[in-house]
């Protein structure tokens, strides 16, 4: 009964994308503008994913797996570029390689099962992004930035990523291991709620941030 919510996610993404476009003047530098690009990319993927089956006759897992690959790589690169500590930055590269390897291992081992989301590389991706985000939070909480981190768009973006992915992971794993029955309606509801929270974080970040903290 909540299936319809699935198709509303694209409007959430559109909304935060538009807010992002309006606050472009507050976002100096490539890194900050990259956030808006990422959001618009997710809008594009939502639309393509929606019509993919109609256009090609294939299941749209290809699109979502591709999106997962690109978005996690982008998140890892993004957080890595914000980190200041040298060893953390090195860990960022290591994590990226690890994720790409896990993604291709997933393709390799579950060859017969391409029409499925790559739950294990998703799990690894979430774990890696989570660790990197924690490193980022540790870094800002241990510096002078602790007083003004709320005014940085990066903090809100990373919080949004965490809010979406961290609760989604146990839910996905529970479905995957048949702990709970897969139900399209509930899946849509959960996805919608988490997307709503994540995009709220993005929008708060765009509106609340101040230019001098966005470098």
């Amino acid at each position: 009964m909540f299936e319809f919510l699935r198709s509303y996610i694209v409007y959430l993404a559109l909304l935060s994308g538009i807010v992002g476009l309006f606050s472009l003047n507050k976002l100096p530098g490539k890194k900050a503008k990259f956030l808006v690009v990422l959001i618009w990319f997710s809008v594009l993927i939502e639309i393509v994913g929606y019509y993919f089956t109609q256009w090609t006759g294939l299941l749209n897992y290809y699109v979502y797996n591709f999106y997962m690959f690109v978005s996690f790589s982008a998140y890892i690169l993004l957080i890595r570029s914000i980190l200041l500590n040298r060893s953390y930055r090195f860990a960022g590269y290591l994590f990226l390689i690890l994720f790409i390897v896990s993604f291709f291992l997933n393709i390799w081992y579950f060859k017969e099962n391409v029409n499925h989301s790559f739950i294990y590389s998703f799990a690894i991706g979430v774990l890696l992004v989570m660790i990197l985000s924690c490193l980022y939070l540790v870094e800002i909480f241990n510096s002078d930035k602790i007083l003004n981190f709320k005014k940085s768009v990066f903090f809100w973006y990373i919080l949004g990523i965490l809010v979406f992915h961290v609760p989604f992971l146990p839910f996905m794993l529970a479905i995957n291991w048949f702990l709970i029955r897969q139900d399209e309606s509930i899946f849509s509801l959960v996805l919608f709620i988490l997307n709503f929270l994540a995009h709220s974080c993005f929008i708060i970040g765009f509106i609340w941030s101040e230019k001098k903290y966005n470098y």
């Binding site: 009964m1 939070l137 909480f141 241990n142 510096s143 002078d144 930035k145 602790i146 007083l147 003004n148 919080l159 965490l162 809010v163 961290v166 609760p167 989604f168 992971l169 146990p170 839910f171 529970a174 709970i180 029955r181 139900d183 309606s185 509930i186 509801l189 959960v190 709620i193 988490l194 929270l197 903290y213």
Partner: protein, 261 residues
Amino acid sequence: MERKEIQLLVISLGIVFLTLLVTLLVIFFYFLKKKNSYLVDKMESELYFQSELVKTRIEIKDQTLSEISKELHDNIGQIISVGIMQLNMHINSEKIIQPNELRDLKGILAKSLDEIRILSRIINKDNLLQSNFIEAIKQDLERIKKLKKIQYKYTLSGEIPLINEEHDLFIYRIFQEALHNSLKHSHSDLFEVNITTTDDLFCLKIKDFGIGYDPLKTNSGIGLNNMKLRAKLIGATLIMNSDSSGTAVTLEYPLTEPDET
């Protein structure tokens, strides 16, 4: 909705929100802890800075007082003693005093008056320091030139920098200490003071041409350590070079404030 569906819904949302809650709580409490320790640290360093500031003020006053007492005893006292001795001579000789002898006496009195004027300027230095510490440095040099018969070379290039008042005090105290050390230990009769200001650096260099010291051997390190500590406290660096041809103390104070984020 069927009973089973509702169960599934509750379980699913339970999993999702529990994880969400735990994540946010962990982040929040970590943040609180860090913020508290950050604020405590900041307060402590502020207190430390203030206490050093008070100490610096007291030291400047002490040094000024001891200089005044020394000058009173060594200089003005001597000059007036000479005057009194001459007066005694005249009283005892019972001759009529000649005008030129009186003129001599007047000269002595005028000289002691001059010395007293110089001295009064030192006492006023605290007021002076409030407007400009470079002026105070100049006055100091002028005073030692007059009273101690020591020559100095003084060069000032660039504009007079705008440094906040508290940091002024520290810089002046470091200068005073360095000058005091040189006067006491170096046996040099020539000083060089260079003040250079560029856009992002204020540089104060004091050089003497005395016997120098071995930085590794001197154990009277409290004064030097204090100077270094204070330089560090205001974000400046203190460089000391010493060999047999003299000692140079350089203070570099960056004028560009680090970004406050």
